[in-house]
């Protein structure tokens, strides 16, 4: 009886004491559990693990309430804590995976944009290179054309030069430093006369034709006399003779601007004035076709 009383009192004490003082592990688990329940990141992202934690929490509470078995309650509290930990880790994993997913999409977007931009740039580069090539080709063509034209011009020039040479030969022109000089041997004047003798017109017609075909050429006409008469008179007469030739050319369509005519009198005889035939040769007109580059005849 006494022994039983003691035993019963001890059991009662244990029961009441256990009931009054919740094991610290269980108390801690409850706090952790409340914190987990209040964290939407965990409940939203790890609902399964959170549910398992809550089931274990219930078992721990129930065990403590019904049996007061401190060891088992502490054990279940440990399990609860671990399940809360698992829920927290699962949630963290889910958040990281969601972020990774977003980052991957963003990365793909950037890669795509970069590639698009690179392709665009490559295209532009190719286009600008094509344009450059085209421009170079055009330039080359233009240059080739220019060369061709220059060649044509050169050929034309040499044709003209040959033609000129032929014409000069026909005119029996003599190359001198002043230009081509021709003496119209059949342009003859009678003594003291400035009028062209008939028959002079054929060689003058050649000169007129030459000047028509070579419109850039300027000429100088120089009239001469024999030595009979005064210098002043002869100078005047030779001027009149030169003018007569100029008038003929002007009448045949040559611009007077291209012709200068002057009389040089009895100077520069080409033959002796002692004989009639010599004097005849001295009564003459010389035509100087000036060089193409515009160099003027040397003044006497």
């Amino acid at each position: 009886m006494n022994r039983l009383n003691v035993l019963g009192s001890a059991a009662l004490l244990t029961f009441i004491f256990g009931c009054a003082t919740v094991p610290s592990a269980l108390e801690q688990a409850r706090q952790n559990y409340q914190r987990m329940q209040a964290d939407p990141q965990i409940t939203d992202n790890a609902p399964v693990a959170a549910y398992e934690a809550s089931q274990t929490m219930k078992r721990a509470d129930q065990t403590w309430k019904e049996s007061g078995d401190e060891a088992e309650a502490t054990h279940l509290a440990y399990l609860t804590d671990k399940r809360i930990q698992i829920a927290r880790e699962n949630a963290r994993q889910k958040v990281a995976e969601t972020e990774a997913q977003k980052l991957k999409q963003e990365r793909e977007k950037i890669v795509l944009e970069t590639r698009t931009r690179e392709a665009e740039r490559a295209k532009q580069l190719a286009e600008s290179r094509a344009n450059e090539a085209q421009a170079a080709q055009r330039e080359a063509q233009a240059r080739a054309q220019e060369t061709q034209e220059a060649q044509k011009r050169a050929e034309a020039a040499s044709d003209r030069a040959r033609e000129l040479e032929k014409q000069f030969a026909e005119l029996k022109a003599k190359q001198t430093e002043r230009g081509f000089e021709l003496t119209l041997s059949d342009v003859l004047f009678d003594f003291d006369k400035a009028s062209l003798k008939p028959g002079s017109s054929r060689s003058l017609a050649n000169v007129a034709r030459f000047l028509t075909e070579n419109p850039d050429r300027m000429i100088t006409i120089e009239g001469y006399t024999d030595n009979r008469g005064s210098d002043a008179y002869n100078r005047d007469l030779s001027q009149k003779r030169a003018d007569a030739v100029r008038d003929f050319l002007v009448q045949n369509g040559i611009s007077a601007d291209r012709i200068s005519a002057r009389g040089l009198g009895e100077d520069y005889p080409v033959a002796s004035n002692d004989t009639e035939s010599g004097r005849q040769q001295n009564r003459r007109v010389q035509i100087i076709i000036m060089n193409d580059d515009g160099r003027r005849a040397r003044q006497y």
Binding site: A11, L12, R92, R107, T114
Partner: protein
């Protein structure tokens, strides 16, 4: 009977205590709990846990070993608790390793994205 003369407030706790003690003595060997813990540890060992949470994994295996020793000594309650703890320890180790792995992957991605953004910006500035 002497017991009949005992007040109820003493008899009930005695009865409860007796039941719980009897329960202790009739506890079956926790073979299922140990098998479950072994499975969980095997799974965790194959995960990233040995790399990222080796201490937690070690704790799980230590507890499993302790559970087996308790089994040998026929301390079945202790064995069950140790096995149950080994199970959640292993699961926690695996969960921690998985979340660590995911966090690192996200961090790497963040970094590579940052690099990519800088490069893209430099490229767009025409360099």
């Amino acid at each position: 009977m002497h017991l009949k003369k005992l007040p109820a407030f003493i008899g009930l706790p005695v009865f409860v205590l007796g039941v719980s003690l009897a329960g202790c003595s009739t506890v079956a060997p926790p073979k299922d709990s140990i098998a479950a813990a072994e499975l969980a540890i095997r799974g965790a060992t194959k995960s990233k846990a040995p790399e990222y949470s080796p201490l937690e994994l070690r704790m799980a295996t230590d507890k499993l070993d302790a559970a087996k020793r308790a089994m040998d000594k026929k301390e079945y309650t202790e064995a069950r608790r140790l096995a149950e703890e080994a199970l959640v320890d292993a699961q926690a180790a695996e969960a921690k390793a998985a979340s660590e792995d995911a966090s690192r992957a996200a961090s790497d991605l963040r970094q590579s994205l940052e690099t990519l953004r800088r490069e893209a910006q430099r490229a767009s500035q025409g360099n």
